[in-house]
């Protein structure tokens, strides 16, 4: 290590090698960010103010910032829907993941590792395939529809694919592990003695949960909701595969603007608007919940 440090100091001609090393170690990460984040963002920003040129696929820079307003106005509906679906999916994922993470952290005993592997296991199958599988599960000949029809909850003519229900279900399912893992991490870290202390002070199970477990797991809740909401709001695969034309999200609009209509400026403007909107929402959210303890 010392030899390496000496060598690197010699190579870079640095005197104070103690303070230089951390910066050297940052270089790969910074390069990565520069090439794959900053440069694309910059070129996307440039594209967003261009106007169509002579033929399809040609654009001229005219710094037309009203592109943003036009693009937003033409797809307000999908914009709102993205946030609504993202929010619903996050709430459903939280409702499913919290008890799951709780059980794995406190009640699973020797099964803990196996259960954790099972939570991550779906990731071994492609995102697309998992979503297509939901089409079968919720489809005409799938188990859900036949049970609901037998119980007379839905009529013979009602389908549940190609609906908002299917899209939100798909979103909640696909991002469930992103919710479960941070929750598990923060629950697992809770010192069991705090729970015993609550019991000693005559708190019942519910009060212990409300006053001790839940507040201590909040960093996991915040991290999990962020990790679920951000990709869910920007997703377009679930709406494409599980939705109907009236369930399309902003991701679908961006895709169609890029590839079908070949209107790159509008697509770029919408991408920026979506990023900005998510950033603002998240800033407010983290300000209110606090991020000091975030895992």
């Amino acid at each position: 290590m010392a030899a390496f440090r000496g060598a690197s100091a010699k190579v870079f001609g640095l005197k104070d090698n103690k303070s230089a090393l951390p910066y050297l170690l940052l270089i790969p990460g910074l390069l990565w960010l520069a090439i794959f984040f900053i440069v694309p963002i910059f070129s996307l920003g440039q594209m967003s103010t261009k106007v169509p040129g002579a033929d399809i696929g040609e654009f001229v820079q005219e710094y037309r910032f009203s592109n943003y307003i036009d693009a937003f106005n033409s797809s307000k509906e999908q914009f709102l829907r993205s946030f609504l679906y993202g929010l619903l999916a996050t709430i459903i994922a939280l409702a499913i993941a919290y008890p799951l993470a709780y059980a794995i952290a406190f009640k699973s005993g020797k099964w803990k590792n196996i259960l954790l592997v099972l939570v991550v296991a779906p990731f071994f199958v492609s995102f697309l395939l998992r979503t297509i599988a939901w089409k079968q599960i919720l489809g005409e000949e799938g188990p859900v529809v036949s049970v609901l029809r037998t119980l007379n909850i839905i009529s013979v003519n009602t389908s549940i694919t190609s609906s908002a229900f299917a899209v939100v279900t798909g979103l909640a399912y696909n991002f469930l592990p992103f919710m479960t893992l941070p929750l598990y991490a923060s629950l697992e870290r809770i010192d069991p003695r705090t729970l015993e202390a609550a019991g000693d002070l005559y708190a019942n199970g519910f009060t212990t949960f409300r006053k001790v477990t839940l507040p201590l797991s909040m960093p996991g809740v915040v991290a999990g909701t962020l990790l679920t909401f951000i990709p869910a709001a920007g997703d377009y695969i679930n709406a494409t595969i599980l939705g109907s034309p009236s369930n399309k999200m902003l991701g679908n609009v961006i895709e169609a603007r890029f590839f079908k209509i070949v209107d790159y400026p509008a697509a770029a403007a919408l991408s920026f608007t979506l990023m900005a909107a998510i950033l603002i929402l998240i800033t407010i959210y983290t300000k209110r919940t606090g991020t000091e303890e975030l895992v």
Partner: protein, 402 residues
């Protein structure tokens, strides 16, 4: 022995048929004397190539890079090779690097635009794209003409496809396979079949109908129903009338999705029972389900689109690329490909050659539509850049994507 007899009969029929040029007759009869189909392909192809080269052979004719759609060329599972390509390589010495890299016209073209505009090599010497994208490439000058004396088989292209508006005289594009668009349905759910849009949107099909994401196919069928011919000049109003129709059917809950190839999954799973669909897909579905599905061209007319060979302006191997294109207009080669891909074959004489390749397919309306059928199919006319943008925007808006 029966094989021998049918061959002889076919020879007689061929000899009597004056509509087939003598050159083709020669190729077909030569192939028919071979027991092995592929040997026939080889011989016929070699003859064609020799004729094309005039014995000379060209200088830069050593390698061709071809981009095509997936599962769109004859393929041998055992050897993992494309037999027709292997035969071509053996006859000509031209190496072909075959890449199934086209999944979507736009998504294939978009990343190449920079290079096409600045005339840098795009990595392909032949591309195979759909009519409307072919029109765009030609309009923007991204293609170059075939080497005229190396493409004698051009005469074998079906008359109906010889003179499209985007490439009069077929100087820089030739049709690879044709895709018919019409109605597909589940025969168990809809025993009466579907012949018109009124039947497609019968109350019983509410919430069970899918339209195609390929704008020209879906909109063309609706326009034909409204009495507008999409292959002839029409005004923007006429197109927007058809958009209104589509939008209403989506709003009323008849159409539950606008999809690409994946509509077949919905038919299989029962989520959809009636669709705007493609002949080749419906053929496959019917074959794998004991005829549970069927396909028909609407009474008011269906659409046909072709994928086309083009030589990008950025390549230097024009002669070699032209030779490869020429090879696939040999009727026997064309029949070999058609027997595998099951799309509409654009080559004259291939139907006769099919008798030898796979007799069960020789009368398939899906591969060799009769003149009567062909007359009911329209090709969507070429659009201007402005029209393309405004039509596509309207279509995507109806689909909920804009």
């Amino acid at each position: 022995m029966t094989n021998q007899n049918s061959n002889t009969n076919l020879h007689k029929k061929l000899a009597a048929d004056n509509s087939i040029p003598s050159e083709i007759k020669k190729i077909i009869s030569r192939s028919l004397t071979r027991r092995n189909v592929l040997a026939g392909v080889g011989a016929a192809g070699a003859a064609a190539t020799l004729a094309a080269c005039g014995g000379g052979g060209s200088a830069d004719a050593t390698a061709v890079r071809w981009a095509n759609w997936t599962e769109y060329l004859d393929y041998d599972e055992d050897t993992q090779e494309n037999p027709s390509l292997v035969a071509f390589e053996e006859q000509t010495g031209i190496k072909v690097s075959y890449k199934e890299t086209v999944l979507d016209n736009d998504e294939f073209t978009a990343p190449l635009l920079d290079k096409l505009q600045s005339k840098k090599d795009i990595g392909y010497d032949i591309v195979t794209l759909t009519d409307w994208m072919t029109a765009r490439w030609i309009r923007l000058g991204y293609t170059q003409k075939f080497t005229a004396d190396k493409i004698p088989n051009r005469v074998n292209v079906l008359d109906s496809l010889k003179d499209p508006s985007f490439d009069p005289g077929r100087e820089q594009s030739l049709p690879w396979q044709g895709i018919m668009a019409g109605f597909g349905w589940n025969k168990e759910k809809i025993p009466g079949g579907i012949k018109s849009l009124d039947q497609l949107f019968a109350p019983a099909n509410k919430g069970k109908v899918l339209a195609l994401s390929e704008m020209r196919d879906t909109m063309g069928i609706i326009m034909l129903y409204q009495g507008v011919n999409p292959s002839k000049p029409f005004t923007e109003d006429k197109f927007m009338n058809a958009i209104d129709f589509l939008q209403k059917k989506i709003k009323d809950g008849f159409i539950i999705g606008i999809r690409g190839n994946e509509y077949t999954q919905d038919l299989r799973s029962g989520n959809a029972t009636a669709v705007f669909g493609w002949s080749g897909d419906m053929f496959q579905l019917a074959a794998e389900s004991d005829g549970k599905f069927d396909f028909a061209i609407p009474d008011s007319g269906g659409m046909i689109a072709n994928d086309n060979f083009m030589i990008p302006s950025t390549t230097t191997s024009v002669d070699a690329a032209t030779e490869l294109v020429n090879y696939y207009y040999d009727p026997v080669v064309a029949a070999t490909v058609a027997a595998w891909v099951n799309y509409v074959c654009p080559v004259k004489g291939a139907q006769e050659a099919m008798e030898k390749v796979d007799p069960s397919l020789a009368n398939s309306e899906y591969i060799f539509p009769t003149a009567k059928t062909t007359s009911r199919l329209s090709i969507f006319r070429a659009l201007t850049a402005a029209e393309e943008t405004s039509f596509q925007t309207a279509f995507q808006t109806a689909a909920g994507n804009a």
